[in-house]
Subunit: 413 residues, 2 copies
């Protein structure tokens, strides 16, 4: 096979269905952004929406904006827009709180629907907040519950008739391994357990069909592939068949059937609003809505195909141009088995990523030695992948990463 | 006593210590804003900070801003700034989530410190979200707990040796009645119970001294008197003596001792960070920080004195100019016994407030028939109080409120 050239990669972008989307992102000059799996970049409409929400809705409309600017409906209206991206119906998704808080709500709600069953099952090495929150659920919730974690390949066999809930992250935050949502959900149901999917590394990047898989609950993140901004609110999904029975512990006033009646007794709202807790974060949710609106005319199948095209190109270029540098593939080689990012391992991973960032190629590092690269068709081109691999090749070949400027660890992230 | 004139009121503003603060608020033209107890108005610095956080920190800094723009430290840095306003020490306050979620965290954490005690005590007619969340705590938490509510004057007597936690709102959202924080906290402690204060209608408006009262836990709102914007994040306080033992159920990754170590087991952060749950809402928290910074050179005693001067003026003008219109005072006549808003009752309260709003006097309505007026020295003047009462007088005298335009109920709030 002839080695690819930069011109070959550029040619792959000529028919891009996402050129108009890319133009809406305000990426820094000379930046190749491959960290959309961690924090999506700024979209022009988000900047404009933040300004309008602050200056007009808050500044001029003031408290009236609960009605006139649609603040009250925002969590459900935005949930409906996200629903389309994850195979959910309207009124099954609501935007609220953080992913962590939503894991708490849906895991506790699911466990309450399976009284007498002891186990909550998850994956060893799952994204930590899921495990930490499940620990909190087990520690504080009424019945005796126990968090049991297993290696990925053991999970289906571990689900038994003492299992209340299975909580898994659809795409693994380091390895990018993707669970077979249909098969795992079926295994949970076959044992009478309920299934919670964390879609943080899926939503907006891979095709997700929650209702096709008969999923019970899900949560997901607003600031990764949905580009909703730092600390954007998250979302929660509850299958319509469960909604009438669902009670979640964070029963704040916005989850009440009639929050402005100001009565003492809690009656949950009829539908998905019962997943709400306190007053919604209006500025953050408004910015997220502007970001999600960019997906309105986007076909998620095309997004997925293009993501695979980008990541397959990356792997081929790594093979052709970075051989012998000690970089090993952590993610599945089979595109169908992975999400929309790829992790490589290298002993000097931290320093390598710092060196890449210094050259404008922004991926990220995850302890102890993984470097991650996100593939986001709405703003990343094939030629960007070439340029990123070329930067990596040069850094490895010249050992530029060995500079103390790159090996010195910073405080966080 | 001679009746006051508008000129008398204007004269009261000539020596205002807050003229420079008022100039920083971007109030709509011809608006007298008396709803700061519900949603504080926009400050110029908040508008600018929102723009900078979005365009520069997010847009340009991207993921690097966790370090370079201080995102990681924001919840504690901002908590320290709020601490000064409520009689707390640095590192006892953190900004996170909604008030409702924080009530859940601290009430559950407090209850866990008092195992074997059954009762959680609160006030009948407390702000509903507190009662709803405490219902959730009792419904879902491990031990058998029961929420018992009492009328305000019965509470101290109701606290007994089966009481785990007392949760009260310092200033009542309708009546503005203010609890004696020292006396009630002492009564809780005398019975071995812990005390949680909801400072939503206090912070930024009345003098609060949590440590002076030996309070155990507190929560408060970012979008009322702190002017942090719609749905601004809230805060939680834990007295330093409790921090080493405190465990709260929403144990997300930002409450971990080392969130970026990505280990499976949860170890709470050493200090107040353990009250954090998920990724902080950076845009909302940044806007709130800009709002709180306006208090940096403000003496809360002067704020309180001026608030009382404004509300006493309001009551005198209502007496002098609105007598015989059927408006009755719901709030305490004694300024020391009330917070920074005043509620009046009238059968046609809803329509009266709509008519006031139509004339640019923005207060709010609370079911079934209360109209509320907030007194916020940083941007409300004595002459504004005159103009507001004059508008009210005219509306009552002409029965302008009886128009169908005002009597027809809108959807929410």
């Amino acid at each position: 096979m002839t080695k690819l050239t930069r011109a070959d990669c550029a040619a792959m972008d000529t028919e891009s269905p996402f050129a108009a989307h890319r133009a809406q992102f305000e990426l820094p000059q000379s930046c190749i952004y491959m960290n959309g799996n961690s924090l999506g970049p700024l979209i022009r409409a988000c900047r404009e929406r933040a300004a309008a929400t602050v200056a007009e809705e808050w500044g001029v409309g003031l408290i009236r904006s609960w009605n006139t600017a649609g603040w009250y409906d925002l969590p459900v209206r935005l949930g409906d827009k996200i629903a389309r991206l994850i195979g959910a119906q309207a009124s099954e998704v609501v935007v609220a709180d953080s992913t962590s808080a939503n894991v708490f709500k849906v895991a506790a709600a699911a466990a309450a629907l399976r009284p007498g069953r002891r186990k909550i099952i998850s994956e060893k090495g799952n994204f930590p907040t899921d495990l930490y929150v499940l620990d909190g659920v087990c520690r504080f919730m009424g019945e005796t519950r126990e968090l049991k974690t297993f290696d990925r390949h053991e999970i289906i066999d571990a689900i038994d008739d003492d299992t209340a809930v299975v909580v898994l992250t659809h795409v693994h935050y380091v390895t990018s391994e993707m669970f077979d949502m249909v098969a795992v959900t079926r295994a949970a149901h076959d044992n009478g357990a309920l299934m919670v999917w964390d879609l943080s590394h899926s939503t907006g990047a891979v095709s997700v069909d929650l209702n096709g898989a008969h999923a019970d609950f899900a949560v997901g993140c607003g600031y990764k592939y949905l580009n909703g901004g730092p600390g954007a609110p998250a979302f929660a999904f509850v299958a319509k068949r469960h909604l009438p029975q669902v009670r979640q512990p964070l029963s704040g006033w916005f989850g009440h059937a009639n929050p402005f009646a100001f009565v003492d007794d809690f009656t949950p709202a009829d539908g998905i609003r019962r997943l709400l807790c306190g007053t919604p974060p209006i500025i953050g949710a408004s910015v997220l809505e502007a970001a999600v609106d960019i997906f309105a005319d986007v076909d998620m199948v095309t997004v997925r195909q293009t993501s695979i095209s980008l990541s397959e190109l990356f792997l081929r270029l790594i093979e052709e141009r970075c051989d012998g540098f000690g970089l090993s593939l952590v993610s599945p080689a089979d595109a169908d088995a992975r999400g929309s990012h790829i992790s490589l391992a290298h002993e000097q991973g931290y320093a390598i990523m710092q060196a890449l960032i210094a050259r404008g190629v922004i991926g990220d590092f995850r302890a102890p030695h993984f470097i991650r690269f996100g593939f986001t068709p709405l703003y990343l081109r094939h030629v960007d992948v070439w340029d990123a691999v070329e930067a990596l090749r040069d850094i490895m070949e010249t050992r530029a990463y060995a500079s103390p400027a790159f090996t010195h660890r910073q405080a966080v992230t």
